[in-house]
C-alpha cells in the first residue's frame, strides 16, 4: 500500500505491507534506528514516537495507519544548534545508563513538556509511566525532565516573544 507521511518535518512516500508496524517501518525502511524495539508487546515504551503530536507505542500502530500523519521520532529532537535542551538535561543529570529506553523516555518527556511545560514531580512520574527503564531507577530521569523544564522556561524568559516585546515597547505591563 502506498503511504505518504511527514517524518521529522520531511515528507516521505513509501509502499508498505499493511502488516508492517510503524516501528519497523521507521527502522528498516527509513533507517531511523533511534526508535528502539524493546518488548514488541506494547509493554515497555522503548518504541515511543509522536503521532500527530501524541506519544504512542509505534510497535502497536500500523505504518499504513500513519498515512497522512505527522510523525516525530527521537531523531527529530535535535535542532540546528545541536541537542535539544531535554537531551542535554539527560546527559547532565545522568538520566540514562544503557540507553535502551532513552529514545522512548525522551519522546514521552517531550510530549509531556509540550502539554505541561512546568510539571510537578508527580506529573512527570505519571507522564513517563508507560516507559520502562531497567537501569536508572527513574530518579535521574525525573531530575533530567525537571531540569529541562527549568531550562526551557529560562530560555523562554531570555527571549521574549514578539508580543511581549511590543508590550514592553509601549510601556504597558501585561499582568
Amino acid at each position: 500500500m502506498k503511504i505518504q507521511l511527514r517524518i521529522n518535518g520531511r515528507t516521505k512516500e513509501s509502499d508498505v505491507e499493511p502488516r508492517k508496524l510503524l516501528a519497523y517501518y521507521l527502522r528498516e525502511d527509513l533507517g531511523l534506528t533511534g526508535t528502539h524495539i524493546g518488548c514488541d508487546t506494547t509493554n515497555c515504551g522503548a518504541c515511543t514516537v509522536l503521532l500527530d503530536g501524541k506519544a504512542v507505542k509505534s510497535c502497536t500502530v500500523l505504518a499504513v495507519q500513519a498515512d497522512g500523519c505527522d510523525v516525530m521520532t527521537v531523531e527529530g529532537l535535535e535542532g540546528e544548534d545541536g541537542l535539544h535542551p531535554l537531551q542535554t538535561a539527560f546527559w547532565e543529570e545522568h538520566g540514562l545508563q544503557c540507553g535502551y529506553c532513552t529514545p522512548g523516555v525522551l519522546m514521552s518527556g517531550y510530549a509531556l513538556l509540550q502539554s505541561n511545560p512546568q510539571p510537578s514531580e508527580a506529573e512527570i512520574r505519571s507522564g513517563i509511566s508507560g516507559n520502562v527503564c531497567r537501569c536508572t531507577g527513574y530518579v535521574n530521569i525525573v531530575k533530567a525532565i525537571r531540569s529541562a523544564s527549568a531550562k526551557l522556561a529560562g530560555a523562554a524568559d531570555d527571549t521574549p516573544s514578539e508580543s511581549a516585546k511590543e508590550v514592553a515597547a509601549s510601556g504597558k505591563k501585561s499582568d
Binding site: P18, R19, S129
Partner: protein, 294 residues
C-alpha cells in the same frame, strides 16, 4: 513481530464501514485503537484476514449531550475523556476512570468503543459504564440499536454485538441532580490491568437522599459486573456512616472473583469492600460537606 498478512481497508464513512462488514462477515474485524487487537495479532492469537480500520470515520469521534444522554463516540480515546474538562462537573466518573487505564501512551490510542467491544473482564470502562447505567449503540444489518450495559457483556471477550455489528457510541444518561463519581483500582504495577476495580456513581436529590446509585466491578468475574444489591439498598437513603458501612459489605456479594496470580478471591472481595467504604465516604464529603460523615 508481525501479524499474519491481512487486507487493510480504511473507510471514511460509517455507511461504507457497515457495508464492508456485511460483505466480509466473519473474515473482517474492526480496528479501533488497536491496543488490544494488534498485540493479539502480533502474538498470532488473532488472525483476521481483513481489517476494517475505523480511525478515519469522523462520525465516530467526540461527544455531545442529546435527548437525555451524553453520547460518546466509539472512537473517543481514553486520553480525550481523561482531559475533558467540560465533562468534569456532570460526568466526573469519566475522567476518574480514564486516568486509571493502562499508561499515557496506550491512552492516546485506545478507545472507549474498543475497550467495551473487547470485553476484557478487567475493562475499566466496562465497570464505569455499568455504574453509569449506560447503553452501547451499535449498527449492523438490522439497522441501529441500543444495548443496555446489563445485556452487553455476554462472557469473557464476548459481547451482545453481532459479528458484523459496529459499536458507534456509548450513551450515558444525564444525571438528575448533584453528581459525584469515584474510580478505585489496585494494580500490581503502574499501568497494569486491575487486581480489582470499583466504579461508583452517586446522584443526590435536593433533599439529600440518593436519587441514583451505580456500582461497577472489574477483574472480579468473567465479565465486569454491576453491584445491584448495593444500588437498590442505597436508593432513597442518605449517605451516613451506617449506610456506607452496610453498602460496603454488599458490594463484594455481587462480585465473583477467582484465585489467580493477581490475588486470592477473598483478598479481592476485601479490596472491594474497602473501596466501597472509601469511595462513598469521599463522595459523602464532596456532596454533603465535611462533618456529615465520621
Amino acid at each position: 513481530m508481525f501479524p499474519n498478512s491481512f487486507e487493510y481497508m480504511a473507510p471514511t464513512t460509517l455507511a461504507e464501514a457497515v457495508e464492508l462488514m456485511q460483505r466480509h462477515e466473519y473474515d473482517a474485524k474492526v480496528l479501533s485503537g488497536g491496543q488490544s487487537l494488534l498485540p493479539m495479532m502480533k502474538l498470532r492469537m488473532a488472525a483476521p484476514p481483513i481489517l476494517i480500520d475505523i480511525n478515519s470515520i469522523d462520525e465516530l469521534r467526540g461527544w455531545k449531550e442529546e435527548s437525555g444522554f451524553l453520547r460518546i463516540g466509539a472512537l473517543t480515546r481514553h486520553s480525550e475523556l481523561e482531559n475533558a474538562v467540560e465533562l468534569r462537573d456532570r460526568y466526573p466518573l469519566l475522567a476518574e476512570t480514564a486516568v486509571w487505564i493502562a499508561d499515557p501512551l496506550v491512552r492516546n490510542r485506545g478507545t472507549i468503543g474498543g475497550s467495551l467491544a473487547h470485553a476484557d473482564p478487567a475493562s475499566d470502562w466496562g465497570a464505569a459504564m455499568l455504574a453509569l447505567h449506560a447503553r452501547v449503540e451499535g449498527i449492523g444489518s438490522g439497522g441501529e440499536r441500543q444495548i443496555p450495559m446489563d445485556d452487553f457483556f455476554v462472557d469473557t471477550f464476548t459481547t451482545a454485538l453481532e459479528e458484523t455489528e459496529i459499536a458507534t457510541a456509548v450513551l450515558v444518561p444525564k444525571p438528575a441532580g448533584r453528581t459525584a463519581g469515584r474510580y478505585l483500582k489496585i494494580e500490581r504495577k503502574a499501568g497494569d490491568f486491575a487486581i480489582a476495580g470499583l466504579a461508583i456513581h452517586v446522584v443526590l436529590a435536593s433533599d439529600g437522599t440518593v436519587a441514583e446509585a451505580g456500582f461497577g466491578i472489574c477483574a472480579c468475574g468473567p465479565v465486569p459486573l454491576r453491584g445491584k444489591r448495593a444500588e437498590e439498598y442505597l436508593l432513597g437513603k442518605k449517605l451516613t456512616p451506617e449506610t456506607i458501612d452496610d453498602v460496603s459489605r454488599m458490594v463484594p456479594e455481587d462480585a465473583d472473583p477467582e484465585d489467580d496470580l493477581r490475588g486470592s478471591a477473598a483478598y479481592k472481595r476485601d479490596v472491594l469492600r474497602v473501596f466501597a467504604e472509601r469511595g462513598l465516604s469521599d463522595i459523602a464529603k464532596e456532596l454533603q460537606g465535611e462533618g456529615v460523615v465520621g
